[in-house]
């Protein structure tokens, strides 16, 4: 297949319009089916028993009393999920996280599960399971965990990435390093140097829909799984591997998904539900409670970051350096590595060095959260950049413009940039009316930039043309926020037909080839590329059929505006054939017409954003109010601008929550103290102003329409933008996220005390 993915600069008819989404009516009438909205005949209720301890050896689990309770159909422990990972260390961690094997590693770690006829019986059964724990010392703080004296979480961990293999195990699983030039020399040329340490606390993605699934394993070894997930093909792969099944025998259907933000890219309950169903011989529905969602799923890393940046008097940065420590939960991860890659990605630097440390702690396994790892690094770097601009005596926007990366710049993490949007977003922010809005007493303005790679990946799409000329589009990337609408627009654009003529669905794992997760902002980027390719393949067939109908050579047929047209004077009398006319005749010209596409979507264009916000700080209480907020971001090409705006606004709102309120609070006993929406407070409607958005379109050269991913970058700048605004309003540099009222008050009082 000769698919040319390069940007072609065409004029758009459908792309860029704002129609109503195809799944909309079901969602406003309550008809749409999410994870917990599905049931099967004879279904049991599954519940999971979780460790109340942060770190404990499991000496023995006695399930006999629970098994005898009438109505209980299956009880499982790790023994029912034997290790089939065959040396795959990452999968072993996934298995261990699904069900503790010998040791409970955090408060909330699953240790056993039951399936019973109803929820009450299942709850009772959990109480009858006796677990004999031997408590072990625990550590939940990332800096504490790095100390030599810290309790060891896994004594088989020897830090990777050091020049010499360490002689002793530690909680640091890996060191990674990025950069170029010579920072030592660079700092030697600096007239001003800012050096600071920053901390951010752990947050949760906070999707409103808890994890939910229904698993049904048959005695013939086939199984069905209905689940809310960002990637049903990946879930199939993982579940099949953990349960010793062939992937093709497990059919996974993705439900409508009630938010994921990276948190629904990992299996937790699904292998457990399948194991329960296998043992009970009946379908099992497993739905997490909110408490379980907080204690056992999700969270992002807590971090501790040191930054040092130097600049000359003229405002040129001469060297930049950062050390980043990210918590991973009790299993190895690459979170600090990603943070170290993104930290200085916005800037054009001759001398830059970043070092990341992955740190084990007794907290839930860290999961991706929207541009994972980037917001914390940006918080530290963009706070220091602001301070440095002040030292140099330059406006913070001007200072950033002076140092911004450009096309041809070698990025701090290695690759050389193509056309990018950091400069344009800064220029747009500079001339945005927000910058001139008046500020009152105790109010401050802050701005910051952010970067995200964006991903592409494996994608498979089918486009089937019905006998009546309507088009079904089957994609394998889960729709997390309107992608069925944008992909229908793309199919309509390429075929030259009306948006309403296309119906997009998310196909199950048995109906379509493998697709990677909807993560890395890849959904619309990669599936639109596959849709364009599939549509072009269909057009080829449509042209052949038209040629057959006219009895002329296919070389004389072109496709324009949804019609086959015979070109050349000798065919002047042939008129044109619509897609519908060709489809209606297809039974006589060779049968069904379809276009398929299987590809690896390469060339996801990097994305940049600049945010501006105004905050008011009450100096008596430390309370804050967000007065104005503006997002400027490059979308490459906004396929459905309303949903692009929605992504910008949603990311900003999550960032605001992270910056000001949200944090996991652990007690001395290592237990999570706020596993609920009352004490883990995400922003509500009355906490926020309208969030202004400006979409820039700097085409991605590696996509036919110029599309870049848009979903993630919007959460990168807010922590820093808000910290800069609060620091300006309160007159004191804030270095610890979230900036909750007590932290702000303490900073103000410390400053007053001098």
């Amino acid at each position: 297949m000769n698919f040319d993915p390069r940007f072609s600069g065409r004029k758009f008819t459908s792309v860029g319009t704002r129609p109503i989404r195809p799944d909309g009516v079901d969602k406003v009438t309550g008809r749409a089916r999410y994870g917990a909205d599905f049931n099967m005949a004879g279904q049991l209720v599954g519940r999971v028993l979780r460790s109340p301890h942060a770190h404990a050896k499991i000496r023995k689990i006695d399930t006999s009393k629970a098994e005898k309770l009438p109505g209980v159909k299956a009880v499982i422990t790790a023994a029912d999920l034997p290790d089939l990972t065959d040396g795959d260390a990452a999968m072993y961690d996934v298995l261990d996280n699904c069900m503790a094997r010998g040791k409970a590693l955090y408060d909330g770690h699953a240790v056993a599960a039951v399936a019973a006829v109803d929820a009450r019986t299942a709850r009772q059964a959990l109480k009858l399971i006796e677990v004999d724990y031997e408590l072990l010392p625990h550590v939940t703080d990332v800096d504490e965990a790095m100390k030599h004296s810290a309790p060891l979480i896994n004594d088989a961990i020897f830090t990777e990435g050091l020049e010499e293999k360490p002689v002793k195990p530690s909680n640091v699983t890996k060191r990674s390093q990025f950069g170029h030039g010579d920072v030592h020399q660079g700092f030697g040329h600096a007239d001003f140097i800012v050096e600071r340490s920053f901390k951010t606390e752990q947050t949760h993605q906070g999707y409103i829909e808890p994890h939910a699934c229904v698993a049904s394993v048959s005695s013939d070894g086939t199984a069905d799984l209905w689940v809310c997930t960002q990637g049903h093909f990946v879930y199939r792969q993982h579940c099949a591997q953990l349960l010793g099944m062939e992937a093709s025998k497990l059919r996974v259907t993705s439900s409508e998904i009630g938010g994921g933000f990276g948190g629904k890219t990992h299996v937790w309950a699904e292998p457990v539900a399948l194991a329960l169903s296998r043992k009970a011989g009946r379908p099992v529905k497993l739905v997490m409670t909110r408490d379980e969602v907080f204690r056992a799923s999700g969270p992002t890393s807590a971090t501790s970051v040191d930054v040092r940046i130097g600049a000359r008097k003229d405002g040129t940065i001469t060297a930049a350096e950062a050390t980043l420590r990210y918590s991973c939960g009790p299993y190895a991860g690459s979170w600090a590595e990603i943070g170290a890659m993104t930290a200085f990605a916005c800037y054009r630097l001759d001398n830059v060095k970043t070092v990341g440390y992955e740190v084990l702690v007794n907290r839930p396994k860290t999961a991706a959260y929207r541009a994972p790892s980037a917001p914390m690094a940006a918080f530290a770097v963009e706070s220091a950049v602001d301070e440095l601009a002040k030292e140099v005596g330059m406006d913070p926007v001007e200072f950033r413009i002076r140092n911004a990366a450009q096309e041809g710049t070698r990025s701090s993490y290695g690759p050389v940039y193509g056309p990018i949007g950091i400069g344009p977003t800064l220029e747009a922010a500079k001339s945005h009316p927000h910058m001139k809005a008046p500020l009152g007493k105790n109010q401050g303005r802050g701005m910051a930039c952010g970067f995200w790679f964006n991903f592409g990946g494996q994608t498979c799409t089918d486009l089937n043309i019905g006998m009546d000329g309507s088009v079904s589009l089957a994609v394998g990337t889960v729709d997390v926020g309107g992608s069925r609408a944008s992909l229908s627009l793309v199919a309509a654009e390429e075929l030259g037909i009306a948006y309403e003529q296309v119906k997009a669905i998310v196909a199950d794992t048995s109906s379509l080839g493998y697709n990677d997760m909807t993560d890395g902002s890849r959904g619309t980027f990669s599936s639109s590329m596959a849709t364009i390719s599939a549509a072009r393949n269909a057009i080829k067939i449509l042209r052949e059929r038209a040629a057959q109908m006219w009895d002329i050579s296919v070389d004389d047929v072109v496709w324009e505006n949804g019609h086959a047209i015979a070109k050349g004077e000798k065919h002047g009398n042939l008129g044109r054939l619509s897609l519908k006319e060709i489809a209606v005749a297809s039974g006589k010209t060779g049968g069904p017409i379809a276009g398929h596409s299987e590809l690896v979507a390469d060339g996801a264009g990097v994305s940049f954003a600049t945010h501006i916000c105004d905050i008011e700080v009450d100096p008596e209480t430390g309370a804050t109010r967000v007065l104005r907020y503006t997002v400027v971001q490059d979308a490459g090409k906004a396929v459905h601008p309303t949903y692009v705006e929605g992504q910008y606004q949603g990311g900003a709102a999550q960032g605001i929550g992270w910056a000001l309120n949200e944090e996991y609070i652990y007690g001395k006993d290592g237990r999570l103290q706020n596993p609920g929406f009352l004490d883990y407070r995400i922003p509500v409607c009355s906490d926020l102003p309208m969030i202004d958005t400006q979409i820039l379109e700097i085409p991605n050269p590696n996509h036919p329409y110029g599309v870049r991913g848009v979903g993630e970058t919007s959460i990168v700048p807010p922590l820093a933008a808000i910290a800069n605004a609060v620091s300006n309003a309160a007159g004191v540099r804030m270095t610890h996220i979230p900036m909750s009222p007590p932290r702000i008050l303490a900073a103000i009082e410390a400053k007053r005390a001098g």
């Binding site: 406003v28 999410y34 994921g260 949603g650 509500v684």
Partner: protein, 158 residues
């Protein structure tokens, strides 16, 4: 435990069911009656995804017992449209793209309907405080507020 027999009105229809004394109205709606439009986001009254109207009062159905619906009037998202004609709030939520994942949407629509019934011409501030009991993690609320403003002006004109 013996079941409780309940006779009530849901979306204008007379409904009878048996439920456990400790069973929430949300569980009854979802698990016994197949009305899964109300969602459980927390089960503790903090997210509003389970919002319904009980005798003209906006409540979290996760905090109401199924047995308490006896002799009352229950309104859920499934009763909001008239046949195939959407309520103006539903229509405006679609037009403004006031939903991304949509899990919070039934709760917001019910809460907004209650808000406009009590205050047909709310200011932005009144909308924001009126809907502060409903969590949305996707939208940042901007488009939700605009959809409610737009629906309010359409409904006033009607």
């Amino acid at each position: 435990m013996a079941g409780v027999a309940v006779s009530t009105t849901i979306n204008g229809d007379h409904v009878e069911y048996l439920c456990q004394p400790d069973e929430t109205l949300l569980d009854v709606l979802r698990d016994r009656l197949g009305l899964t439009g109300a969602k459980e986001g927390c089960g503790t009254g903090d997210c509003g995804a389970c919002s319904i109207i009980l005798d003209d009062r906006l409540v979290c159905s996760c905090l109401v017992l199924g047995a308490e619906a006896e002799g009352r009037r229950v309104e859920t998202i499934e009763g909001m449209a008239h046949g195939d004609k959407l309520h103006p709030l539903q229509q405006k939520f679609l037009e403004h793209a006031a939903l991304q994942c949509g899990i919070c949407t039934p709760g917001f629509l019910i809460a907004a309907k209650d808000l406009l019934a009590k205050n047909p011409d709310p200011t932005e501030e009144e909308i924001r405080f009126g809907l502060a009991g409903n969590l949305c993690r996707c939208t940042g609320y901007d488009k939700i507020v605009r959809a409610v403003q737009d629906a309010a002006s359409v409904m006033k004109g009607a």
